[in-house]
Assembly symmetry: C2
Homo-oligomer: 268 residues x 2
Amino acid sequence: MKKNNLIILKIGGSVITDKEHNRKRINKKNLKRIAKEIAQAKNKNGFSLIIVHGAGTFGHKIAKKFNLHQGYKNNLQIKAISDLCLDLKKLNIEVIKYLKKEGIEAITFKQSSAWQLSNGRLENYNLEIIRNYLSLNLTPVLFGDILVDKKLKFSILSGDQIIYRLAKKLTVNKVIVGTDIDGIFNCNPKTNKRAKLIKKVNGKNINNFLIENSTSIDVTRGMNGKVCELINLAKSGTESEIINITKSNILKKALLGQNGLGTIIKTN
Amino acid sequence: MKKNNLIILKIGGSVITDKEHNRKRINKKNLKRIAKEIAQAKNKNGFSLIIVHGAGTFGHKIAKKFNLHQGYKNNLQIKAISDLCLDLKKLNIEVIKYLKKEGIEAITFKQSSAWQLSNGRLENYNLEIIRNYLSLNLTPVLFGDILVDKKLKFSILSGDQIIYRLAKKLTVNKVIVGTDIDGIFNCNPKTNKRAKLIKKVNGKNINNFLIENSTSIDVTRGMNGKVCELINLAKSGTESEIINITKSNILKKALLGQNGLGTIIKTN
């Protein structure tokens, strides 16, 4: 562990919800195993941790149906906002429960009560409460959410933008982005058997990815936006790694400091 | 409705949780009826509403056991904080569900993610997000919670302090404090059959209550603190009424503008 002892972990919504049947249900098997791996690594190396989870099947459907990411259009969206918030709360409570079962003293930080957006991007955001939670050895848990937006009235703050924002302001040792694929491929691995995993995105090839971003890299919904945030993060000096946390022990190894388990994103 | 159209409603934790058996269970019957009465009144008069609920059996026991209101003493409290937050979240999600079933587009505002205490009192607290929720016709729901405290590391923010703080900064038409007793009595109605309900606390008798506060008025745990906050509120110009919302239709009548249903607290 370099710099200090803080790790930011993104848990992809598709990993912990029932993506296969597109139902608003928890993927209990994955969530239980992930909580166990986190607890085992944390007990061994004693790092501080911030967890950010996505919405998966609990969020994307209704957000898309009512175009909630585009801001206020009509009054039908108001019920949709209230419905979405309840669903996200249900998912978040499950994540907290599973973490606590493994002895992780998790605590929700609900950024929609604290922060506001402006045209979909966070402007001012205070991390003092999160820093206080960390100093008390609590593990803050954040999640992709719908926020008040100064220009659009409301908009979506993705889990991916949250990790970028957190890592930019805090001194972070490592950012781990847990998804349901092995990392970034040179083409879509689900339609092309010859797709090759790119082990490292760095100063040499980073511009290619930025340009080809929307075609070759977007192997799954969300991967495109994810890569953009992580490249921004790399430019500001924090490296990250995209790993597949649907496979056993990959997350545990990554938390314990092992690299090269997926795609590392850095600028040098 | 005078001034404007905003009502702040406190729902006592003892009303919506299983106070009788001191169990961490919802009082479904009360919660369902209360949600219905709110919806009926809101549909009729179309006021804006902020709801603040207490913790009841979901909070007081663990908070007291680990002295969480007194701030940091030992590391055993850290697990207690995480446990308490999860329990409060479980209660809040039930309140939101019941309100939504009746068509109220409720949305949680989790003040522990937004505000900090200093020696148990709120110092700076921003209501911009709550104002935005109201302007979108959402009903913000807050609750008594554990917050970061600049002096004590953490402390408890009671639902009663929240209503005082909200009412002080917002232009409020009415503050309704729903409890499980009829109002303020001249002595304890549970031990003295001759106890008399005081219909009005005003400029003439307010000082008596402040002085005799800890003896004659404290008829139920929390009533003492409640009255202090409400007297402060009256002094800053907002009247409030303590009513018994375990009885049918009292809340509905109060929301529709009727006075004299319990004890009114005002300075003139």
